[in-house]
Symmetry: C2
DNA sequence: CCGTGCTCGATTATCGATAATCGAGGAGTC
DNA sequence: GACTCCTCGATTATCGATAATCGAGCACGG
């Protein structure tokens, strides 16, 4: 058993490797565009090639890396153009989630959502940008889970890489408070169980920040 | 990258195995709920365990099979509910594609779309259901390609709408002619370069058949 | 007769090694 | 000097074998 390096010897190796590698990608230790060589990872964690390959394949499905036959795996470089492309897709998905979630949301879930907003506010006061983003993502994830559509949730999760990269771009341009408070109308629409309104608020929420983030280059013909 | 039928990704065993296994699942040779044993597939195709595992993992990501650690892989029962879940997601994506494609569509593309409709009509006359679905899928794919949003195209492809539609068709009888002719309003909206209308037609197109196939559970308040 | 623990066959998860493939860089030619 | 061909090092794709794990069936005690 490989216990010389980091003490990963419990569950399925593939999953542990995936989490480790993902953390390193998000920390920027693996820079975008940089290659991730299987043999290096093998030696570093003292495991064999197979679990490394499968972990990397999982990360590919999550869109954090890309791979080409015989040419290996590299951290996906997410261009500003791709981020711009994400907004209409994400906006549409969030609208679907809002519409589906509103009629079936329970008071418990509403409380959870309110908690997340509170947590975002607290993190904002502490200046903890990372925590804000975590609770932001969690807020949206709760809505998608409530929508009770496994396929929808799956597709949304596959956008994680883009969403993650997105916040790095927008971090400096948009105030944290504005981000946090813009979740309130969504919660209110859900409280009213108004499907159309909830969908609209979800859509606007995404489109608003999309327009903010790319206002200098969006020459959208309307 | 998610390759559809790109062309030069042939030599990789994993991909070939995935296609073979998928065909067998769809043919019903592997019944829903039935286990797929790695060692059996190994011997049957004369390959090693690694490519089999990776092919099965791909199929898992596509939701055609499910796997549990140390307990192997089994064919997922694609429930009617799951098929129903696809429709709102797909409808939203198609609307985005229609809106994006309409302002930039060329006459060449419009001609291609008209050709696909003609091909669908011909296939209908021949009673070739599979061909109809292929050209149907191609019609929509052309619209997504025209939308010029790589992420949107990627997400749409990940739905494998053609395959799911096939499954739907085998369960719910919908008139072929109705399917084919319902593409005409989309083409007309694109001809007018009317983004909002094209999006709306795309959405209605999908929602219509979703409602037909699963009318008992869609109770959209309107 | 029923429940419990154990053994065994089947299967997966992982390993270490080999074959196939790619990209860079040097020798040779015009 | 620029281009082409070829070799070589690096890396991936696949293989065959071993270790870990699970579930079913059986012996045993209550």
């Amino acid at each position: 058993m490989a216990d010389g390096t980091g003490g990963l010897a419990r569950a399925v190796l593939r999953d542990q490797l995936r989490e480790r590698l993902l953390a390193r990608i998000l920390d920027g230790e693996f820079a975008p565009g940089e290659r991730i060589v299987e043999s290096h990872v093998m030696k570093e964690y003292g495991v064999s090639q197979a679990p490394v390959r499968e972990a990397l394949r999982d990360l590919e499905a999550m869109r954090f890396v890309e791979s080409f036959p015989h040419r290996g795996v590299r951290v996906r470089l997410i261009s500003e153009r791709e981020l711009a492309e994400m907004y209409p897709v994400r906006a549409a998905l969030e609208e679907v989630a809002g519409r589906a979630a509103a009629p079936v949301v329970t008071d418990d879930v509403l409380a959870l959502l309110a908690d997340e907003i509170e947590a975002m506010r607290a993190a904002t006061r502490d200046g903890d940008v990372h925590a804000v983003l975590v609770h932001d993502a969690r807020f949206h994830e709760i809505v998608f889970e409530t929508a009770d559509n496994a396929l929808l949730l799956d597709v949304w999760r596959s956008l994680h890489a883009e969403i993650r990269a997105l916040v790095t771009y927008t971090r400096v341009r948009v105030g944290l408070t504005e981000i946090v408070e813009s979740h309130v109308p969504i919660l209110q629409a859900l409280r009213q169980r108004d499907a159309a309104l909830a969908g609209k608020e979800m859509r606007h929420h995404i489109e608003h920040f999309g327009a903010l983030a790319f206002r200098e280059k969006t020459a959208r013909p309307d």
